[in-house]
Amino acid sequence: MTRKKAEPVDDTAPARVPVAKTYKLYVGGAFPRSESGRTYQVTTDDGTFAANAAQGSRKDGRDAVVAARKAHGGWASATAYNRGQVIYRIAEMMEGRRDQFIELVRTGEGVAEDRAASSVDAAIDRVVHYAGWTDKIVAVFGGMNPVAGPYFCITSPEPTGVVAAVAPQDDSLLGLVSVILPIITSGNTAVVVASHARPLPAIALAEVLATSDLPGGVVNLLTGDAAEIMPHLASHGDVNALDLTGCDEELGTSLAQAASGTVKRVYRPRAGQDFADAPGTGRLRAFLEQKTVWHPTGAVSLSGGSAY
């Protein structure tokens, strides 16, 4: 990749040298370098150097799974109200960085300012949307089962566990948020590989998450090449599900194949989804397990119970 030089505006005045940014990964609430030590150059849509991003490795993926697993118990057992508040707080903080996100989306995706703004607004609104889902999921997807016998029987959704996801390659913020939020809303934790070419909104989001109330490890954001990181997560015994939204056909298929070794849940939507569309419940449901619990109700008195 060639570094396109920024045009000097004024030959006489000494130009301020911008501080070149080298970003790190976001794992377990911290910002480690890739254990491989590698970085790659990220450019804007027109090829201008934007930043160096960490090139996550297999081991980074593994560390992220450890962090996600560690965070899962607490996040899954947090009250739905609490999860809702934490997620809403993310939206508040994104709102505070709205201009930065618009700039990153505009330059990264090469879209006009208003398009970038509406995409960022939609992303923030999407977070608000999911903040409101946390305490509805059980009521909407679960329920009492009127079984034909003296039993109290209830089916209730639970989070699947640790979900490894590939964020959309093109829609760098709204798509990313649309993948992450339905995973974590129900109490799953996520290891997410950001868009390879457009990771900067993800990196900014990581900075938001790190300073929000979201417990470390609930969302782990890796930059780098999904084709390098994901195969190890697809076969990883402590990953429960895959979201292959941002994979190309070939990678998606090979990951889905690898997932079969441990019977992982695989969410693989058809390509070309417009994330600006109102979200349905498919993504939420994809990472839920339905647990059915039975208990006898029994007769409260001897005369009521038996017909013998």
Binding site: N145, V147, Y151, S260, T262, V263, K291, W294
Partner: protein
Amino acid sequence: MTHLDWEYAPAPESAAIGRIKERYSMFVGGKFVDGRGEDLKTVNPATEEPLAVVSTASTADVDTAVSVARKAYDDVWSRMPGAERGKYLYRIARGIAERARELAVVETLDNGKPIKESRDGDIPTASAHFFYHAGWADKLEHAGYGPAPHPLGVAGQVIPWNFPLLMAAWKIAPALAAGNTVVIKPAETTPLSILVLAEIIADADLPPGVVNILPGAGDVGSALVNHPGVDKVAFTGSTAVGRAIQASLAGTRKKLTLELGGKAANIVFDDAPIDQAVEGIVNGIFFNQGHVCCAGSRLLVQESVADEVLAKLRARVSTLRLGDPMDKNTDIGAINSREQLDRITALANVGDEEGAERWTSPCPVPERGFFFPPTVFSGVSQSMRISREEIFGPVLSVLTFRTPDEAIAKANNTPYGLSAGIWTEKGSRILGMASALRAGVVWSNTFNRFDPTAAFGGYKESGFGREGGRAGLGAYLQEEN
């Protein structure tokens, strides 16, 4: 005074009620037709005598069946108002009920399960599944899958031999209610009851091609699930085969649900209703000869009551009557096949080799037929194969624990996650345990209860997707984003 030596006289159900025919054919496009596969002989596992000859499908027959199902989907079934679809399902539910006694006999002869179980369990529950799902057909918009849920198309379904008719009902009823058409393959060793169901379906005037039944072995199943004309695959069976299906479908966008193996922990605390817990343990592992994916095959008993529970368990198991499945007093019937009997025998032998203590019910074992006496291994540890591998037979492994945390850790320490049992009279502990156990079905102070309204399915390597209830419909409807 001396007590009376009172034995129950044999009380066999009449085999004639089953009206078993010499030969059965595939059911494709509403007609019974001979397949181009090699005929198979189905055997009564209790006597090892042949029951009937069944024509099987070839790969070409799979093509035909899928295209017939596609046509039925496109031309008729997907266009029919839900209320009308529902009425067909009601007819089938009634048809099963009307021929319940015959079906029970067919099931017992072909599968080896006790007649009291096929009579009181399999057949009525199969009918109930059609009845339940019939009611959904015109109410799908209320099922929580969006305002206009859409069927998937042709469902390719492969079912096991442990509950042949019931599994057929679990698969066919929701598929049809949601508006899909079906090509289904029964297990090689138990093809008969579903072919009687085919007669019921034909008598119900279900439009031709909506349900197609292809007897055959694994190759037919493989051809079916991999057929490009199939939009949805539902499989119940072993985890090994489930994995292979998931792998082979990876490149497709077929919707897949898997209901696979299990190694359920049945956890008995010291404050349990002990006598009912013993019943639950017995029911958990010896129901249907232990050929149950959700069988409570690992008993986790609190150490402080382990001796008492084990003594009561052995006494209770000694009263189980093993033998002729057609006898109404038989509690434990025949193992479904020689192959399965060999597998159970081999795994039980591994238990001996690993140093577990084997106890076998003193019940007499018939000389002919495939039988395995109820067996309880005590002194089992988590590392032994008999506590990790699914035996799929009447073999219980007994482990102990000291605290609830240890019980949870041991119960969840398996790649499976289908079911679990909890026995305690302490309500808060039940709820705490139920939420900590990674299993799709948790029975507390009961075991092996099933109902069409209640979702059933696994966590982890026990599969994904649910059958039954509102959650089960999701397997047969298109996903929203």
